[in-house]
Symmetry: C2
Subunit: 191 residues, 2 copies
């Protein structure tokens, strides 16, 4: 699993001694005793840390007579940095999904813009709700009656849909007054 590799990497880097070693090696290869000297630690301790760093391929070594030089494997670090930076981006996915969302909306809405029926499949349902909710005004407070009327434009079962708006966090209710939640709180269909 990709996750295991990530965990191992960060766990290994989450130690002050090992991070210092990485910084040292970033300036050029060093042998064990030199590292131990610079850090004020004993050689066995360095061996211990090097073993862990070798496990995640962040260092490699070359023997030169009796002394072993440790080198930093920069590509692994850069790769993990990239993974970290990209784990956030749900944005590129949106591009792919746009077409599929359009198709779902075409299937479930009439040409007049009314909802034919509520999809059973969760991800399709969410696409539909998201579409409905786009017609509401951010920051505006909707009395229940007004919200019902809005939903009725699209479908007769306003009670179900209104409830689903809350369940899926599209909206928030306070004293029977409804209001749109911030968009980042909405449930997203998982493709």
């Amino acid at each position: 699993m990709q996750l295991d590799r990530m965990v191992a990497f960060h766990k290994t880097m989450g130690d002050a001694t090992r991070l210092r070693i990485v910084f040292l090696l970033a300036a050029g290869p060093l042998h064990g005793q030199a590292i131990a000297g610079k850090l004020g630690l004993t050689p066995p301790t360095i061996t211990h840390h090097m073993k862990k760093m070798r496990d995640i391929n962040v260092i490699y070594e070359r023997r030169e007579k009796n002394t072993i030089y440790f080198y930093l494997n920069e590509s692994v670090i850069k790769q993990q940095a990239a993974v970290l930076g990209s784990m956030i981006s749900k944005d590129e996915k949106r591009g792919e999904n746009l077409a599929e969302k359009q198709k779902i909306l075409q299937n479930f809405f009439t040409t007049e813009g009314r909802l034919k029926n509520i999809p059973a499949q969760r991800k399709k349902k969410l696409v539909v709700y998201e579409h409905l909710v786009r017609g509401l005004q951010a920051g505006k407070k909707y009395p229940e009656k007004e919200l019902n009327e809005y939903i009725l434009q699209f479908h007769e079962d306003y009670a179900t849909i209104r409830r689903e708006f809350i369940i899926n966090h599209y909206m928030y209710r306070e004293n029977s007054i409804y209001e749109l939640n911030p968009e980042e709180m909405w449930a997203k269909a998982e493709y």
Copy 2:
């Protein structure tokens, strides 16, 4: 210290449960029990992990009635990814140093290209040795006699300089045959 912050970040991310939480939150905010449910853990365990993630500012929270939604703080993650990616680059430093290196060489070499004297200051000494060694051929084996003659072009004390080549890992000796080391093994002047 910057290092402490890095250690804290990676230590916190070096745990499978917390990484899974990050992945969950990357898809949108969630409340504690939802996270506990999805991961098959108890609420106290989630509280424990959230506290650690809050300490490094990788999450923040907003209360919605009784339930607290946790949000991912993407900027912190992106920032740490950037730090990780940039920790390698000694390259930008080289640019700055070029001018200073030139100046050192001008000070210690005659216009005829001979070394006036060996600098006492370590970093200047290394700049000088690096310059000398650039005249040698990578991969070529130099008998001691030949190396001495090469050094004599620049300075009379070939023995000292030859020894320094070894000490600082510019060269490698085997049975009185000398050979250039790979460049990434050389001692670098620390600016």
